[in-house]
Symmetry: C3
Subunit: 156 residues, 3 copies
Amino acid sequence: MINVAQRLVELCITLPPASDPAANYTNCVQTGSLLFVSGKVPSAPAGGKVPKGKLGRELTTQQGYELARSTGLDILAAVQLALGNLDRVTRVVKLQGFINATEDFDQHPQVLNGCSDLMVQVFGARGVHARSVMGAISLRGGVPMVIESLFEVAAR
Amino acid sequence: MINVAQRLVELCITLPPASDPAANYTNCVQTGSLLFVSGKVPSAPAGGKVPKGKLGRELTTQQGYELARSTGLDILAAVQLALGNLDRVTRVVKLQGFINATEDFDQHPQVLNGCSDLMVQVFGARGVHARSVMGAISLRGGVPMVIESLFEVAAR
Amino acid sequence: MINVAQRLVELCITLPPASDPAANYTNCVQTGSLLFVSGKVPSAPAGGKVPKGKLGRELTTQQGYELARSTGLDILAAVQLALGNLDRVTRVVKLQGFINATEDFDQHPQVLNGCSDLMVQVFGARGVHARSVMGAISLRGGVPMVIESLFEVAAR
């Protein structure tokens, strides 16, 4: 087992404050050993706004990759807040990516890789997950992506 | 624990008859303590047809909110039929909303709130859930939304 | 309990080799008795390429039905590779279909039926599942659909 807090330091990753749910719901629901996490969006850069736009028009695939990584950091922040300690994550089970895209965009997997690669960097073999990705015609507030996630967690 | 049947009466909610699956599948599958519910659509008003159209064009956000609440009632009808008693629901785990929307629509959360708010009204703290929402280019029969849901249930 | 290998012979079904994940993730993750399977796409016909295009424009609903069945075969190949034996599947829990569609397309369920019908043919009553389906504006590589799936499995 790797120590995740130490791994984050090695990766020079500082988690952002967990974003608040935007409405009458919660970030995370645990049932048994499964932790279901609400859809998350890219974080605003320091002093900036949450980026907007579509992949294939305002945003390139490489920008999308970075935004998916940013979204992954917000997911981890929400999980840490819910669990108290990321070492309680025994497996990243699933990611589901909804990419705000044009009709012609076809590089959805390369975008979601930004989040997938982060999970494997942070959790090692425990971070290898199942996933799906699709193109959305529009997303809340014009954000470029929403990523939903599912984790297997150990008892307290 | 609240008594859900009594709570429905207090809220003046009468559940519609559960809609039938449209094809070779079923409304609900229980595995362990998890009840997976098929995607549901808004109910037809008394004597009317299931509404059609896109959020951001034929339908306003407020209309969408009401349609999401109507969809929630059909979800509850399906769950009640499967479980026999809504008191067996120990947690609303997750909602996933697919909103038939235009490219410019950006109020997907405000629409899904119609279903989220219903769950919290009916189940109280047990009704607070994780969720995601995205914009679909089209949906079956031109309906304005499909909401998929997941419940944690107690043994009989 | 039916013997699935024998059932596949009766149905004249030969599973394709399981497709590889396209990036930093895996086909299947098992947690407890749940097997989460990554989104799968239609298989290439012998000597051909993976089909591309949108339902409602390049592809008819009937073609979509066959492509959904083809996707189902790839799902089964992935599950067989993960479990060693399809008889370990105790229930098809859920299918989620993302259909690459035009704005006017409205026959998403008839398309996903290709996969649903396959599951019931192969697994009998164990194959009856919950499901959702929606229209995507675009999908990876221009494929006509992605189907995500969830199975309940018995211990080894």
